[in-house]
Amino acid sequence: MSDTKPTFLERMQNLDRRILYAILVVFTTVPLFIKTDLPVEPDAYTKALYYRLMTIPQDKTVFLQSDWTVSTRGENAGHMEALLRILMSRKIKFVVYSVGDAQAPGVYREVIRNINLERKEAGLTEYKTWDDYVDLAYFPNAEGTLNAIAFDVRKAFASRRVKDPNTGSDRPAFESPVLSKVQTVGDAGLYMIVTASSTVDRAVERLNERTNLAVMCTGVIGPSALPWYQAGQIKGVAIGLKGVYDMEYMMKYGLNHPDPNKNGRIEVPWAGKEDKSAEPVTEGKTFARGSLYYLSFHFAILLLIIAVILGNVGMFLGRKAERAS
């Protein structure tokens, strides 16, 4: 290093990481207080998921395997909320359980309670346990449980008893209106996995030949879920925060659905299935957590990109100076 004072760009090459950290805190906090609904073009696989969700026959039960905890609330809570809003607005019954984490049931119960509260405030019907949904809590040992579900779902869930509010007693889950028609896992309207871990791999390995799988996962799991989607082993994917916002956007405007305000459709054709369209969600909230976080996310990524550019420019200039001397 020469004795001369380092130039601005040279200093940019070796920024203290703590300065970057401080800027990141500011960049992620401030936009939380700004309300905007950014326009977006949903990804093809998220469209596939939305289409699947909106076309589940109403008499079918959705299997909802929820394997996330508070640590990934930033993404999965949005997924779960969007999913529940869709299911509840379409009056589709679902059975919810977890095979990934013992803490997951506590977390999804909280989400269900919040969505129910939200519906109550909006004057909509609430979802009742036993009649509208069944909560089977946690099954330890993902591999074993999924194997058991694949072979004989009635046996796998047999030990679970659920309180029937009509009689006040615990009864086997399969006597509930939610599960009474289900004989095999293939009877599920859709097998949804909301996950932050590789339970999606475990599920695909064991269930893909037997039922229609669809996944809502964090950005980390996304890339490993996409090969499954490409091979047709899962039918739709929503990945990370973008997935949350895509879902919320489609819930608001529908999929390839004539929109009175825009006088058109969502314009990007959906690979190979352009003729398929789905309605927007008719009741309840559409924009929620996803739209709240999405702007912050833009700022954070921009910071990252700026940091990378600064680093490279600094390095480039440094090399040039070295060569000159």
């Binding site: 990481r17 009864r171 490409q230 973008k242 990109i305 990378v308 600064l310 490279n312 480039f316």
Partner: protein, 318 residues
Amino acid sequence: MINLLAQVPTYNFWRVPPLSGELWLKIGVTLLLCCGIVAFLMNAPTRVRRPVVWFFTFIAGAFYVALWIWPQPVSREPNTLPRDGIEGIGFLLNDIQPRVADVSNILTTILLGLGIYSLLRIHLSKIVKRQADSPFSIVLIVSMLAITLVGYMDWYMREFSVAGKEGKLQEMVNWTPINFAQNLLFDGFLQQMDSAMFSMIAFFILSAAYRAFRIRSVEATVLMASALILMISLLGGIVFAWNHGVANMAAGMHIPLANPEINEAGYLNNLKITSAAGWLRNTLQVPALRAVDFGIGLGALAMGLRLWLGLEKGGVTV
């Protein structure tokens, strides 16, 4: 509704009435038998050690291999008899499967005591030797004892007390101080600390990208370019604006982008970020990662075979 409860389970040699004398007797006899076997093994000559470990490993692995290779009984209804011997074994394998699935989990859990022992030994010895960090070791042990205590009490109340059985403890208004303490330690501290630690990765990503994403070699550049394209494609607002810019450009060139019949317009579509990122994902990312997957799958298969058949010299299963 009540008639279902009236159905009494049937019993056989393996299934016995719950909490009955017969059950405890069988458990006791089995325990004694196991102790005998262990005592015998402890005094067994060195040369039987390997075969014994190998035997257990082999049997455990053979179950899943058998489950895979044996024909599955199709459309099995509950409470039906197999049609022939082959199906009989298929039925049996299917019936045992959920029980075998529990085994490794239960065994790992029983081993947890060893881990706790290791942890306690390290920190207790720090406290006893009054090393520099010993106050922190005290903090560790106190918080560990606290959550263990309230955790068990909370569990006991929820599982066995009258209020717990009636599900009243689901509501916060019925809680006792124990439930509040458990909730505070678990929800207030542990879960939030999990989240905090997890979210710290974002900071590290920023500094790692800042440091590592420099155009030094072809590989680094390729990695960086692909990461940047993907990142930008996630920014819905920017992507939307860009894509509309492309559409406007097409309009300026009098190419009706929205008119699908003229395919030439399709080429401009490639300028959209989503198209570029989608192409990158579907055409390059998926096959590259699939190649990694194939390799890992084979590695796991080979390693599995070596462990199962006890082929590794000095390995843990022989």
